[in-house]
Amino acid sequence: MSRNKVMALDEAMTRVKAGTRLMVGEFVGAGEPARCIEWILEHKIGDLTLICATPGMAGGFGKANLFSADLVRELIASHVGTTAESSEAYFAGTLKIEQFFPLGTWAEKVRAGALGLGGVLVPVGVGILDEPGLFPDLAEPKQKITVKGKEYFVEEPLRADVSIVKGWRADPLGNVEFRYTGQQNQRDLAMAGDYAIVEVNEIVPVGTIPPERVGIPHPFIDAVVQGHSLAEQDRRYRDHWIKLGRLAPML
């Protein structure tokens, strides 16, 4: 356990190029790697295939700006419409969305990619999502299999060239700790990318994170980058929530 994976943002992000298939940790904008997203916006890295649970949080927050900057070619998600930016790109025809998945199916597809499975058999949506005409852009119909008399979708793994996830703290080995609902499926996303970058609020010495509090063990991380401090992150979310009317303005 001797590698130091802490890197400057510029160094880690050289892996993200035009056309990269990119996973980003988040859930409706919570748990986003803010500085890495800002880097992509600044460097105008485009033609991305973006794999994430949702396009992000409404109101011009973080990741949603990737859509208005026309940097995303394809979105593989569960929701399309959590941000106006993604909906507009979709209906303008600049954003390709061939299919979307029930959230649990999407999460299992990422996990299958993370853990080396050939796929999972999912019962959700059978008889609904396989209705002809529902996904007109789909090249092939969804594959089904019958096991013990019940039909399931055969859901293949999702993988990416690069995964960027967001944690609270990390040590130089690459152990990552989450706070509360920041966990999401950040670990599975990290494991499903050929190269995994974690952005954290704080970089701490090895041994700081208790072994049972490690949310992503060190072998699954390739690069650790310093993000905004927790205080700054909290301030940004609070400001945005006030803007959206989800929190009372401060007097």
């Binding site: 859930f27 959230l103 609902t181 999401q184 599975d188 940004r236 006030i242």
Partner: protein, 233 residues
Amino acid sequence: MDKNTLLSRLSAREIIARRCAMEVEDGEIVNLGFGIPTLTANYLPPGVTVSFHGENGCFGFGPKPATLDAQSDITNAGTEPVSLLPGAAMLDLATSLGAMRNGFIDVTVLGALEVDQEGNIANWATNRHGRWWPGPGGAMDLCYGVPKIVAALQHIDKAGDSKVKKRSTLPLTGRNCVTTIVTEKAVFSVKPKGEGLVLIETFPGLDVEDIRAITEADFEVSPDLCPMRLGLD
């Protein structure tokens, strides 16, 4: 304020949320969808303590915190700031959704675009430019796996058409899965396996014919038909 005055001042949203709250029992694991369903939490009967599930990975959400207590890492499935109650438990997303699929959530209250007399619910897709949008999120997982599914919706749409259909023509979220339909006008119980609706409650002052006039679906009338329970007593 007398009860009639009180009733007349209730918004449709509050009526629906109040009535949905009656479907929740003490000790249950509850998942509330967005919009009206979220308001349900405000009207739980006294003595009913439940565990609220957020599909993003939590059991045990509490109310919205004060602005300065709001934390970026304590959010519900719509990324609203929330708090955590004693006994709250975090879990990863795949397990959270697995819990929804596999029956660990006792009851869910879901908003709906349409419901129908087969117990179908449609709430994830509208057709824009020939494409269905905006995607299912976790609602389809809930419809697949939760035993008690309460559909919460206004009875008629803006054009005056019934949203309680004979057969929904939108892409469905779940088939034959709704157990109770709650609108601001009426409550229907859905027979097992979606074999028809039974009118069990009407908003105070409305009778069966009033409901028939605004409902496309066929329905039976319960012999125990009563005024809508709103927890106002």
